[in-house]
Amino acid sequence: MKKVYLDYSATTPMKKEVIDEMLPYLTEHFGNPSSIHSFGRESRKAVDNARDQIAKTLGAKSDEIFFTAGGTESDNWAIKGVAYAMKGKGNHIITTKIEHHAVLHTCEELAKEGFEITYLNVDQYGLINLEELKSAIKENTILITVMFANNEIGTIQPIKEIGQIAKEKGIIFHTDAVQAYGNVHINVDQLGLNLVSISSHKIYGPKGIGALYIRRGTKILPFIHGGAQEKKRRAGTENVASIVGFGKAAELAHESLDGHINRLLALRTKLMDNLLSKIPYSQVNGHPTKRLPGNVNISFEFIEGESLLLSLDMVGIAGSSGSACTSGSLDPSHVLMAIGLSHEIAHGSLRLTIGDFTTDEEIEYVLEKLPPIVDRLRQMSPLYEKVKGGK
């Protein structure tokens, strides 16, 4: 059966160059970078090289890059690390209602410990309001953490402006750039970032590896304690092969960033525009232009996301949904709720995310298969009856 993968925001396949780069470190070069013998030195060199590669993509210095086990750990570390380091100064943290759970749940944990969290609202497009941010800042605010781009609706926040506000007030600014990295130009100095979470498996690198950018001088405690790896700031034997893969993936993404963006934008426009015109009672979620190049998020009224995903899966199309039925909790996506969708509309949401291996032919295939599936499900939907009946 034909297989069309349109879930690049969930995870990406690895690029061949990335695997090729990793393989020697899965086989002959297996030393522990902390060892002083030749096996160890070989690994140490590889880790240092990857650190340089990643630093370069962010306009950062190599000693500001710290490897973690992924975006989730980076988020946990950034937020708890700053909270505990700064708790003498204050206990107030500002974030948004549409953060990834890695940020939200970490903030909720801190709230249990007595930290005070402000969750900024977003507008119908998923954008925060800079005035609301400014007025949320208090004497005891120690951290602003606002995601760079949203994983569901793709909305890109005004990071530079937030960075400016944070800088003026002398507040540490963290951004979860897991989705933005490799899809948007990021320069930590130009954007005034103190901490940035990134993850390898979203940019055609291996899973289980990520990094936290920590600007020199940022007050942050370690999160994982033990050996002296990562300059004593993140313990645990380095995941050498994955670090090498991540470095290569970052380099490739950086080199081809403009081409990547343009290619994805073209496919995205084609997919989105055609779906909207072919399928009545559909609407785009997220911002029309301030959005990740590969992100399509559409709600189809009267149907439910899991049914849609299953039907798509049966014709080989892989997507995702913000429906409650796929989320495991009783409520639909907190992101779709925050942009003001009704439960019904949120239920019928479909996220298709385009990536470097997506072809025009695949888009055509989706445009052929998706409309009849939506129609079939609508025919089964009691909500649809009224509409059909010419309401």
Binding site: S34, S35, R41, G226, G227, A228, K231
Partner: protein, 151 residues
């Protein structure tokens, strides 16, 4: 982690050994932090005509001992006194930051030997004022940058 020069001096250390009837002997360091360095000098007309060393310590300690002996051989006692640990490290094309303290020991060992020479010959060197060969030299390990062995 070490330069080629360090490895060369570690592998083929110059002037290892003892001098019988040395004119001066200096020993510094303490076994607690790993380093003991002992230097023997043969001095004629204020010129160091021969020098030997023994070292208990890491690769850097051995290489800096070796280099330090090379740098003072044939020099006057005065010149030897002006030897700095930085000069030794530079002559080796640098040391890792965590290993700089080992080079301090080389400087101190030379000073200790000349101190011994001065004492037995009733000489006075202003460079040695306040120098105590028996004090515990604090070659401040820079904990922050160092690597623990935890595997």
């Amino acid at each position: 982690m070490y330069t080629e020069k360090v490895m060369d001096h570690f592998t083929n250390p110059r002037n290892v050994g003892e001098i019988e009837n040395a004119d001066a002997v200096g020993q510094v360091g303490n076994a607690k932090c790993g380093d003991i360095m002992k230097i023997y000098l043969k001095i004629e007309n204020d010129i160091i005509v021969d020098v030997k060393f023994k070292t208990f310590g890491c690769g850097s300690a051995i290489a800096t001992s070796s280099m330090a002996t090379e740098l003072i051989k044939g020099k006057s006692v005065k010149e030897a006194l002006s030897l700095t640990n930085k000069a030794v490290a530079e002559a080796l094309d640098g040391l890792p930051p965590v290993k700089m303290h080992c080079s301090v020991l080389a400087e101190q060992a030379v000073k200790a030997a000349i101190y011994d020479y001065a004492k037995s010959n009733n000489l006075h060197f202003e460079e040695l004022e306040g120098f105590d060969p028996d004090e515990d030299h604090d070659h401040h390990h820079d904990i922050e940058d160092e690597v623990e062995n935890c595997n």
